[in-house]
């Protein structure tokens, strides 16, 4: 038994029929083909499935698609605009914040929600913001530096050339 839901994904309206047991992560990956969010643990422990739900980072493996009805979802696919990387993505590339890439979509979205609320976060604030996102490759240092750099790039961009 499926139900029709409406939501916005990366700014676009989406209308789709989902069974009750579909998670938001499955809706994004299997139904909409947005495979940026990953399934690591499926139980809220790793953050690989992080998306922004109404602007806040959540584990999409623990959200029913039906509970996302009427809400706004942002995935990593929604970050780049017109083929241009978002400043956060650019910073991760420049600072070497990406190794295998499995955690990266989640890291980017957790960091985005931090920077949207706090344009100039301390290192402790950055580490707290990504504390639900596990990375098995980088040892976190490069990720923290990437977020730091993104904060600088964003503020520079705001000030203009």
């Amino acid at each position: 038994m499926k139900r029709l839901i409406r939501l916005r994904v990366n700014g676009e309206p989406v209308e789709t029929a989902v069974p009750a047991n579909r998670t938001l992560l499955e809706l994004l990956r299997d139904d909409l083909g947005l495979t940026g969010a990953k399934e690591g643990c499926g139980e809220g422990d790793c953050g690989a499935c992080t998306v922004l739900l109404d602007g806040l980072p959540v584990s999409s493996c623990l959200v029913l698609a039906l509970q996302a009805e009427g809400r706004e979802v942002l995935t990593v696919e929604g970050l780049a605009q017109d083929g241009q990387l978002d400043l956060l993505q650019q910073a991760f590339v420049e600072e070497g914040g990406v190794q295998c890439g499995f955690c990266t979509p989640g890291m980017l979205l957790a960091a985005k929600s931090l920077l949207d609320a706090k344009p100039n976060p301390s290192e402790a604030e950055i580490r707290a913001a990504i504390s639900g996102n596990l990375c098995r490759c980088t040892g976190y240092q490069k990720i923290v530096e990437s977020v730091r750099r993104a904060a600088d790039l964003r503020r520079a961009a705001r000030r203009g050339p």
């Binding site: 038994m1 139900r3 069974p19 009750a20 047991n21 579909r22 998670t23 499955e26 399934e39 499926g42 139980e43 809220g44 422990d45 953050g47 992080t50 739900l53 806040l56 980072p57 959540v58 584990s59 493996c61 623990l62 959200v63 029913l64 039906l66 509970q67 957790a110 707290a128 913001a129 504390s131 639900g132 996102n133």
Partner: protein, 294 residues
């Protein structure tokens, strides 16, 4: 990991949710944030035929409302909201600290207060702080509403006074007169995504800054089948002017009252020793916040 199939319904009011629970019988489950229920369903520990969502019951209501000395916490308030709530931080700082200690930011943006209490885990991080303020929970079913002291609510690991057809509709605190300070400390192997090895929440109310203790509460997490009040420790503190020795004795009394078990996180003996340390440190912090020791 796939979820088993179930029927889903969304309630638009508390009354409607109660009606849905009554109609659906024993095979129904409420879902709020889903961080506990969905994990249990994925692991096959729970298999409800019908899931009733209460996410729309919040309406525009605030996470925390204050009316004179009465504080009302909304059951659908998320841990992230409680952690950042200035009213709560000011009035009952250790409850905000408990919310801040839950899981990770990704979990706190989903996890609700009602779900934390209703799941009734001995490690539920908001339970000891709320016990320290003599909080009460309001329970509603199709046949009426009643209020229960949180201290009588927990009955065992995963078990509570909440009936299958009942909804937890509010958490209420009557703020005491006098000068109060509180603290919550959680011991884990790491700072995030950690279930408590042991935790302690305390609240001290002094008759005046630097004065005698009018009320003392010491509540423990993860060291008994339920979040536990350490009454012998509380009795020791009552009516005294606190000092370092008294605080140490209270910590030791609390450790004797703990009923910990050995599990993969820690041994019972280690937990018991840590209770003494956590309670001592929490009391020291709470006393300073209450304006004591001057």
């Amino acid at each position: 990991m796939r979820l088993p199939m179930f029927e889903y319904a969304e309630a638009k009011s508390a009354a409607e949710a109660c009606g849905m629970l009554a109609d659906a019988g024993p095979d129904a489950a409420l879902i709020a944030g889903g961080t506990d229920l969905l994990v249990r369903m994925k692991r096959g520990l729970e298999r409800p035929a019908r899931v009733v969502s209460i996410r729309r019951l919040r309406g525009g209501l605030p996470a925390v409302a204050r009316d004179g000395a009465r504080l009302a916490l909304h059951p659908l308030a998320t841990m992230a909201e409680l952690a950042a709530d200035p009213l709560l931080e000011h009035a009952c700082g250790n409850v905000a600290a408990g919310a801040r200690a839950v899981g990770s930011p990704l979990v706190r943006n989903l996890a609700t207060l009602g779900g934390n209490l209703a799941s009734a885990r001995p490690c539920a991080d908001t339970a000891p702080p709320l016990l320290s303020w003599d909080a009460r929970v309001r329970l509603q079913s199709a046949s009426g509403e009643h209020s229960v002291p949180l201290d009588d609510f927990f009955t065992g690991p995963g078990a509570s006074a909440l009936r299958r057809d009942e909804l937890l509709t509010a958490v209420e605190i009557e703020l005491p007169a006098g000068s109060s300070g509180s603290a919550f400390l959680k011991l884990g192997q790491r700072a995030a995504l950690e279930i408590a090895i042991a935790s302690a929440a305390v609240r001290l109310t002094l008759d005046r800054p630097g004065g005698t203790i009018l009320a003392a509460r010491v509540a423990l997490g993860s060291v008994a089948p339920v979040p536990l009040r350490a009454r012998a420790a509380e009795d020791l503190l009552l009516g005294r002017v606190p000092n370092e020795d008294l605080i140490r004795e209270a910590g030791e009394a609390a450790a004797r009252e703990a009923r910990p078990i050995d599990d993969l996180r820690a041994s019972a003996a280690y937990r018991r020793e840590m209770v003494a340390v956590l309670v001592r440190r929490a009391l020291t912090a709470a006393l300073e916040r209450a304006g004591g020791g001057r």
